[in-house]
């Protein structure tokens, strides 16, 4: 039975029946066994995130995003300024897949062994729907940001961050930056759902990811556009440091096998 809803209904009926017959303990035991089997089946997929390269990739992407904004502010005016920004944006886009590939090819496979995943149709559907939703949100956000930027700075200014701004942080700006920080912190938890039990120091990273963005929003003057570059830079650095530490730990604890093991 593949339909998850029908499977859930069947499970609930089984619980009811077991309750009537006084066999809830046995049912829980069976459910636990099934959950353990599920955990084993998921282990190969967990290697994609437990070696730290995914975090490094995400951190690199965030750093590149932040640096692309700063490059337009701090680099001297020339045709190269725009190209540098575009190059950094391109790096941000490819950082994650490149680091994931590096992690699989050079970190996991030499130590754990070779494995590949089955192509799943549902995954492609999810990716296409995800891309469509992301495109709609991005276009809407870009439209909104352009409007905001137009209000916040004169036309001649190269970037919003370079413009003199209101010294008092608005409540909306604080709320936006806190939400942005919280979303990234939740994402960090998702990255480290498995490894956070082992690496307790990652809880500090999580706390920093939650607490620092609103603090920056409170300390720095300006609206969301002015505060988001330093916040993005900070988030990128946290991901990068956390990923690097995880990678070092993984390399130390997973030695390549002896040559005759294959």
């Amino acid at each position: 039975m593949k339909n998850p809803i029908a499977r859930y209904i069947q499970f609930v009926r089984k619980i009811e029946q077991a309750k009537r017959e006084g066999r809830t303990g046995e049912l829980i035991k069976a459910a636990r066994e099934n959950a353990e089997i599920q955990t084993i089946t998921m282990r190969p997929r967990q290697y994609a995130v437990t070696n730290g390269t995914a975090e490094i990739g995400w951190g690199t992407a965030w750093l590149c995003f932040a640096l692309s904004i700063y490059s337009s502010v701090f680099l001297p005016a020339s045709p190269w300024r725009g190209r540098m920004g575009m190059l950094l944006l391109l790096c941000a886009c490819v950082a994650m897949p490149v680091w994931m590939w590096v992690g699989k090819k050079f970190v996991v496979q030499p130590r754990i062994g070779y494995f590949s995943f089955r192509p799943e149709k549902s995954r492609w559907i999810g990716m296409i729907v995800g891309l469509a939703v992301a495109a709609v949100i991005s276009i809407a956000m870009a439209h909104w940001l352009v409007q905001k930027a137009g209000q916040a700075m004169p036309v001649s200014a190269p970037h919003a961050a370079a413009v003199a701004v209101d010294k008092n942080p608005s409540r909306l700006s604080l709320l936006q930056i806190s939400g942005y920080g919280l979303l990234n912190a939740i994402l960090y938890l998702m990255f480290n759902a498995v490894s956070i039990k082992e690496h307790r120091w990652k809880r500090i990273c999580f706390a920093l990811l939650v607490a620092v963005p609103p603090t920056i929003g409170f300390l720095l003057p300006g609206n969301y556009l002015h505060v988001s570059p330093p916040v993005t830079l900070f988030q990128g650095l946290i991901y990068l440091i956390s990923g690097a530490a995880t990678l070092v730990w993984f390399l130390r604890h997973h030695q390549p096998p002896a040559p005759d093991a294959g």
């Binding site: 069976a30 089997i37 089946t41 282990r43 997929r45 062994g113 089955r118 093991a261």
Partner: protein, 98 residues
């Protein structure tokens, strides 16, 4: 015989053995893997793992392919369609047994 006992008796004995259950569970999560991967994941000895794999191959649940990766010999393992079906049925049977 009551229903749970009947369900227990129907569980696939080839998969039910803990060592083989781990192997099949790991293989069900991937398209294919090499011997080294199973060795690292199951923490079994080479002989033990080979014996279990031979039993699973005999049952038609696992396909074993000897190949090369560059110049290094590699043993590729994958679950057959029968194996995947048997594993799914085993998991459903496990819940039905209790």
């Amino acid at each position: 015989m009551n229903e749970p006992l009947r369900a227990i008796s129907k569980l696939d004995r080839v998969i039910h053995e803990p060592g083989r259950l781990i192997i099949v569970a790991l293989l069900s999560g991937v398209k294919e893997c090499d011997f080294q991967f199973l060795l690292a994941e199951t923490k079994m000895s080479k002989g033990n793992l080979s014996t279990h794999l031979a039993k699973l191959e005999t049952a038609g649940y696992v396909e074993i392919e000897k190949t090369y990766r560059g110049k290094v010999p590699m043993t590729l393992l994958r679950l057959t369609r029968t194996g995947r079906k048997a594993f799914e049925e085993y998991r459903q049977g496990l819940m039905a047994a209790f």
